[in-house]
Symmetry: C2
Amino acid sequence: MKFTLLFFFLATMLSTSHASSIPHQIHLLRPHSGAAGHHVPSSSCLSWRLAVETDNIRGWNLVPATCETYVGHYMLGHQYRKDCNAAAYAALVYAKSLKLAGDGKDVWIFDIDETALSNLPYYARPDNAFGAKEFNETTFNEWIEAGISPPVPAILFLYKKLVAMGFKIVFISGTSETYRKVRISNLKGAGYHTWEKLILKQTSESGTTAVVYKSKKRKQLVEAGYRILGNMGDQWSDLLGTYVGNRTFKVPDPMYYIS
Amino acid sequence: MKFTLLFFFLATMLSTSHASSIPHQIHLLRPHSGAAGHHVPSSSCLSWRLAVETDNIRGWNLVPATCETYVGHYMLGHQYRKDCNAAAYAALVYAKSLKLAGDGKDVWIFDIDETALSNLPYYARPDNAFGAKEFNETTFNEWIEAGISPPVPAILFLYKKLVAMGFKIVFISGTSETYRKVRISNLKGAGYHTWEKLILKQTSESGTTAVVYKSKKRKQLVEAGYRILGNMGDQWSDLLGTYVGNRTFKVPDPMYYIS
């Protein structure tokens, strides 16, 4: 199992992948000014992060204050990128093991926020503090409206491979339907040029939890004859529920929780 | 959310919890002699571990050779213990949020190996190399037969709290029924003195995967009127399938995979 070796290969490949109009370099950001000099109880925050990533801690509202700096450094540093690469690489190994029917019904589902696209430039702002400060719907919607979220490089890399292999891509996002136009331009600008469906949340669905909403959308896909071979998201609510697909892949996200 | 503060409290509590005959100090072990001087690509191995813990990598047979030393240091060091504490603490916070019916049907399920009991003294042997060497059924069975597995301290701590709160404990293990006697003495020796059921694998079930076997056993519990409020294990096959319970808790284990 040459996992780590192939890892470096993937990392090298990633550095050569570029979208047309939105820069990929989310690593150029730096922690906000409050980071310097704070005590970082990193081993406990690493445990907290693992507990979040394994769905042991649910329904949490804010990154613990003591872990704000830790999460900031994680998100802006190498480890987050390596963790995303590991998720993408595991997905690619699985995808390559499949024999597609090639009838246009072989589907791979991607969530959008913190999966296909990164809102890290938004969350890195001092007002948001990597999820350690209360979610501000107004400023977040302004950020989405701007349509300048960069791709998560590892996921864009995987996406391109999957498209080349013949997978049909379906994006399922909790973003409101009212943002369809800007989401399309953001996805395209970030390098996601083609998809089978882009499923956004209707106004009538606004009260539904993500796990119920996404299960319903996946059910409709299956009923329409699609085979969900892979399903990738940063929230467990993307990956649990019903019709989750043959394999699920959790992309790291220690900044927020969506039920 | 005073997660990290309460963490230290839990860590303090743990150090005061002692079983009668089996020492808890699995941290006294040291890596086998091959560890010194090896290059440890720790950030990639951390990504590999996260991918394993989030069930992104499945069906793996061995710890990657490049991560043997990393996994050894992790398992013998502070981080594994802190990660176990985080899982136990998340479970305890959840358990305390419940109002039990108190009719003897409020059940908490524990897996045994690498959950209630630790086989780390076995896996730390050079022949096993923390899962980087091929599983040896003969020596592993000899180890189980010896019945001297220490508890995972955080899980024993949680167990005692749950018992005091009125939960009925059910152990579901893939261990063969033929080891019942020694497993009972091992559990009691490690500090697990009481349980509602100790479910082991019958000879007739030996060909069944863990996820199918454990789902079947949980179904029987639910049909017998038990409410599975919590379910804790080190393998996703403990926590996926059917009748998984109201909440699941993943205990870390980067040493082996059971489907």
